[in-house]
Every structure is written in C-alpha cells, then in structure tokens.
Amino acid sequence: MKTIKVGLGTCGVSAGAQKTYEAIKNEIELQNIQAVLKETGCNGMCYREPLVEVTDEQKNSFVYGEVTPEKAKTIMNSHVLADKPVAEWLVQSTRPSEDDTFFKKQNRIVLRNCGIIDPNSITEYVATGGYEAIQKVLNGYTPEQVIDVITRSGLRGRGGGGFLSGVKWKFCRDATGDRKYIICNADEGDPGAFMDRSTLESDPHSVLEGMMICAYAIGAEEGYIYARAEYPKAVARLKHSIREALARGFLGKNIFGSPVNFSVKIKEGAGAFVCGEETALIASIEGKRGMPRFRPPFPANKGLWGKPTNINNVETYANVPWIIMNGPEAFAAFGTDNSKGTKVFALAGKIQRGGLAEVPMGITINEIVFDIGGGIKEGKKFKAVQMGGPSGGCIPASMGDLQIDYQQINQTGAIMGSGGLVVMDESTCMVDMAKFFLRFTQDESCGKCTFCRIGTKRMLEVLERITDGNGKEGDIELLRHLAYEIKNNTICGLGQTAPNPVLTTLKYFPEEYEAHIREKRCPAHSCSALLTYSIKADACKGCMACAKACPAEAITGEKKKAHEINTAVCIKCGKCLETCKFNAVIKN
C-alpha cells in the first residue's frame, strides 16, 4: 500500500496545503483508494510548498512540489492508482531533479525527522529511535557523565550567544538550591527567522527529549517552554505531544520507570521581543513585566523564582538526543575548530529557494546562497546577507567566501544569531535596512536604560532624515558616536547590539550613506522620498492607463500622445510604473 504525506506546517498551510490535504482525502474516499494518508511537518523546501510525498510499495519516495488540489487529483489517479509518477512535478525522488542541490550540502541532525514523521504521533517518533537517548542516559549515565558528553561535543547555544552548553549545564548542576528549573526558549523574536517554529511543528518530541536529558543532568524536576504568541500551531502540537508523553509515562513521576520526575509546562508569550532575553523571559514566566535585569547573578544561580535555572534554545535541545545516541565525537566531526556541529538557517528574502537548511559549521555564505538557495530571485545581483537580525549585521556579497563559524562571523561585526539569513539584492537599500532594524529595537526597547531608550530614538531620527533626503554633513559621525554610547551604557543584549545593523552597513556600504546625504540619491532606488517618476516620451503610447491609475491626478496628456508627470503633485506611489504596459514609466 502506498503512503501519502502532506506537509502541514504553518508555511505549508499558508501556501494552501490544507486544501491539498482535503482534496487527497476526498479522492481516497470517493474512489475508495487503498492508501494511507498522513500529515507531516516541513522538510525545509518551503519554496515548493505545498509538498506531497508518495511512498510506494517498494519504499521508494517521490516528493511533489507546489501541489494544488487539482494537481493532487492527477497525482492520485496517475501515480497512486496507476503507478505512473508525474515526472514534471517531482522535486525529489530517485530520479535526479534540479532541486537535488538543495539537500546536497546539508547534514541533518536537528531536522532529522522534520518532514518525515507525523509530528502528532509519538509512535512515529519512537519508531525512528526517539526517546532512546533519555533511556540510555537514565540507565547508564550519571548526571556528570551527561554533562561531560555535551561538553565534549562542543555544542554551543543556538539562541544567539553561542555559549558552550555543557559548561552552562555544569554551572547550574553545581549551583545550590532545593529546586532547579529548566527553560526552553522558543520566543524566536528575530524577524526573519523561523527555524524554531518549524522544529517545534515538525518534531516536537525531539525538543522534549532534549529537555528531559538536560533536566536529568541538572537535577531539575520542572521545565517550561516559553513560546511566542504568534505561533499557535507550534503551541498546539507541543501541548498534544506533552499529553502523549504523559500518557506513556515518559513525563510525570518516575519517568520511564526510573526514580526521576520531570514535568513540562508551556507558557505563551504575549508579544514582547525583549522577552527572548533570558532574565526578561524569566520575569515574564513569573507573570511580571518582561524587563531584563543586570547579570550577574546569572540564571544558573538565581533564575526562575530565585532558583538555579538552565535556559537553552529550541535548536540547542533538539541536538541533545542525537549527541547522546551518536557520541560527542560524531557531532564534533562537523564544523570548525571553534564551532562544532551543524546550524539550521532560515533562508528568506530575495533568494530563489527560501526555506530551512541545516548545514555543517564552516560552510561558506556563497555555498548557502547559491548552491543551496539557488541564487537570487529574478536574476538580480546578490548584494548582502543579513545575519543575526536586529542584533546582527549585513555582510556584503564580496565576503561570500567567508566560512560560517562563531569567530569569523563576529569579526565582520555581524553575529551568528539564531539562524535568520535574509538575502538582499541590488534593489535593497542598506540605509533603509539599518533604519528598519533600528525602528524595531526602538519599538521593542523595554525603556530601562536611558541610552537604549533615547539613544536608539536619536539614531532612528538621524536615519529617517537621511532616507528622507534631509541628511546633513556630520550625520555619519553622529551615528557612530551614538552607537558607541549605546553599546557601552546598556545592561542587556538588546541595547548592547542594537547599533550593529547601522555599524555594519556603515562599514561595508559607506558610499550608500554618502549618496543619500550628499547627492540626495538612493542608489538602490528604494527610498521613496529620493525618487522621481517620469515618463519616457518616446516609449509612451498615450494609452492613458497611468493617468487613470494615478491617485494624485499628477499625470496629464492627450490620448495617443506622450503623457507627463507633474512631480510637484506626484505622491510617489508607484502605481503608474505598475500600470504601464509599455515600460514607459521610469523611476530614478
């Protein structure tokens, strides 16, 4: 019997996968087809969603991309019923396909089950060897031995800071306290990143298992998962998974029949980026305003309700069961001297193949953008990648051969961050990008430190006037000065890293700032205040379409004669450019 799997992660559903799923279900019922229909998470090829996988009787797998309900019917009739795969829609199978390069340079540890198993089924997780790592640990490892394994693997925290996880666990193990807690940080606030959401939606049990192992190592009996408010599906799957694990005795009292107790609670965030910061997150779980506090004391000594607390990111935990099963050496075999293992990146922006890619540390930016990501959309030119979100920076295309590891990325002024990798092309304005991030941090600043609260506001004002065409000589120096003060006079990572997007764009794209300030010109043709629209007289056919579309009535001209734009009235909405079928409207 054939098995049919439909990817129903948030991305899949928003691309229409639910309708595809229903269509297949319908077809199975209508024609009484002997096949098993299942749902799964995301295999990372988000750019091809909705994805449908057909596994035949010989266990051959065929993955179809961009499957609409109509296409699904054809696949059911041709492939499932008549054994004739629909070759043209295949994106991954035994046959070579142009999409194969998407997977070629990937090594999947964290995403090992993503898009393969049904995330709603603990049975499927167990069938892939799930929950063996925790049993191995409970049956044969002392907590110290677990910590030793994690330390030797070289695993660093994937939430952004990159602190050695084994060392962090040891701090918490060694801390004195009658109770200890562990927390999984699933706040994923970096705008442009979705690895944690996808992992939680596609393989929630791997995160739970990682937390169990950590809890045992530290001596905690209670764990919390702090999830973002915008991730309803991830929260629903987690709740379901926790119920399943409780029912089997994997969570609760005496887990797996051992003397160890462990329970997990979910806390939903309420929309505050700063709550991703560990001390703010703890305050938020305690029901307070999510304000960071000065460290030390670190959460390992004084965390949730004043007790020793270990906090790790989703991806960090998801690595743990694999390391236990395969050994620290196998993990450390991937990567570079200072950065071991793999990293999941969320590829987005102007890239052909947006999705999730898990790559060994040490891979170059170009390999990710071109070999995995398939290059830039619409044949445009690669300009930069943004890594680390509002705490990170823009790395120019000229540094595309840079190896991705913590040290090398830090040297550029960007940071590894949590894994958001937004690709930019020639039409992205770097000053606008810097302004975008600063507006974000300015909005999200908790307001405790003056330099974070007021300093980012001053920087934003300067950037706004530059992109509005009112930039002044001295503005660049002013930005640098403010950046320095903010970095050095704030207590949490939000403020300390807020100037990074400005500093990196200033470092690698100074000429763009200068063009805005001195020539009142936006080289990327993006800042609307610095643009003018005009009509090329010789290309204009006088069809009057633009004049009708213009909301400001800025376009005049007679039928079949060249039209003109009155720039004094034009509000630069771009409608005329969109409307003209003859490419007669230009912006510069």
Binding site: P191, F194, G354, G420
Partner: protein, 170 residues
C-alpha cells in the same frame, strides 16, 4: 469582595466563559497573571475592566500592577477589537519583499491605520514583526490563518472573502 462562589454562579448564567472557568480553577499557582489575561482576551476579544477587577480580587495583585503588565505586552488590548484581526508582517524578510505595498493596500482598502478598527467593527489591523513564515513573504495572518506570497491584488481578494463571509452570516 468577589467570592469564588459568586464567580461560579456567574458562570452558570454566562453562556460559556473560558475565562471564568480559568479563574475558578485558580489555586494560587505562581505566575498565573499572564495566562489569566490571555484567557480573558481570548474570551472577550479584549481585556474588560471587570476582568481586571476579578483577577485582582482572586489573585491578589493590585489593579495598577495588572495594568502595568497589560501595557507592557503588545498582545493585550484594553479596547474591543474587530471581528477579524489582521496581522500584517513587517519583519525583515517581508520588508525586503515589499510588505509596505501590502500594508498600503490594506490601509487604503479599509481606511484604517495600524492598531485601528474599522467603523463596522469587521477588521482590526496590527503590524507585527515576523509571523515565522518568511520564506513565503510577504505574509499576513487573519485570525489564526496565515496567508503567504501575497500581492496587492491577492490581499484585496482576501479582504473581500472575509467581507462576504460576514455578509452571509458566517
């Protein structure tokens, strides 16, 4: 002072109120404030003053402190919201993929700005940073549904769909 017994009685007359059930269940757990506020908002679409009073009495946190928490988190609303909540993403990936054009289409079409509700009470618009669907940017979320790969035209169609659904009593 509101007693647990009263809430329970209240609850019987109330058609169905998750929030009151949650309040009733409260046993003095620590950190219950935010989940209770979330439950109130889910039940009423916003956090009414009466809910704040109830929480304050039962959990024993002064109202002023509760207001402090409410205003800190962007999720919480003190005013009623529209029937449909539109969350438009202006995260990095969506920004790079022209989310501003989508925002403009919505604000033009509905004649409201971000954080406002249409006069007919049908839509509330919120701008958020990243819905976690960046590979399908630009993205919006209407209630719990996410829509990706949008163009101004598709957004218009979507809004029409929701308007029609309302017209048909849906």
């Amino acid at each position: 002072m509101l007693q647990k017994e009263e809430i329970r009685r209240d609850n019987i007359n109330d058609t169905f109120s998750n929030f009151k059930v949650e309040l009733w269940r409260y046993q003095g757990e620590r950190g219950a404030l935010i989940p209770l506020l979330q439950s109130a908002q889910e039940t009423y679409g916003y956090i009414p003053e009466s809910a704040i009073d109830h929480i304050s009495e039962i959990v024993g946190i002064p109202s002023a402190e509760i207001y402090g928490v409410i205003t800190f988190y962007s999720q919480f609303r003190l005013k009623p919201m529209g029937k449909n909540i539109i969350r438009i993403c202006d995260g990095t990936a969506c920004h790079v993929n022209a989310s501003t054009a989508i925002l403009k289409t919505i604000t033009d079409e509905l004649q409201i700005d971000s954080n406002e509700t249409t006069e007919d009470g049908l839509f509330t618009l919120q701008t958020v940073a990243c819905l976690g669907c960046c590979s399908l940017s630009p993205v919006i979320m209407i209630n719990d549904e996410t829509y990706g790969r949008l163009t101004p035209k598709k957004v218009q169609q979507l809004l029409d769909e929701y308007r029609n659904a309302d017209g048909n009593g849906g």
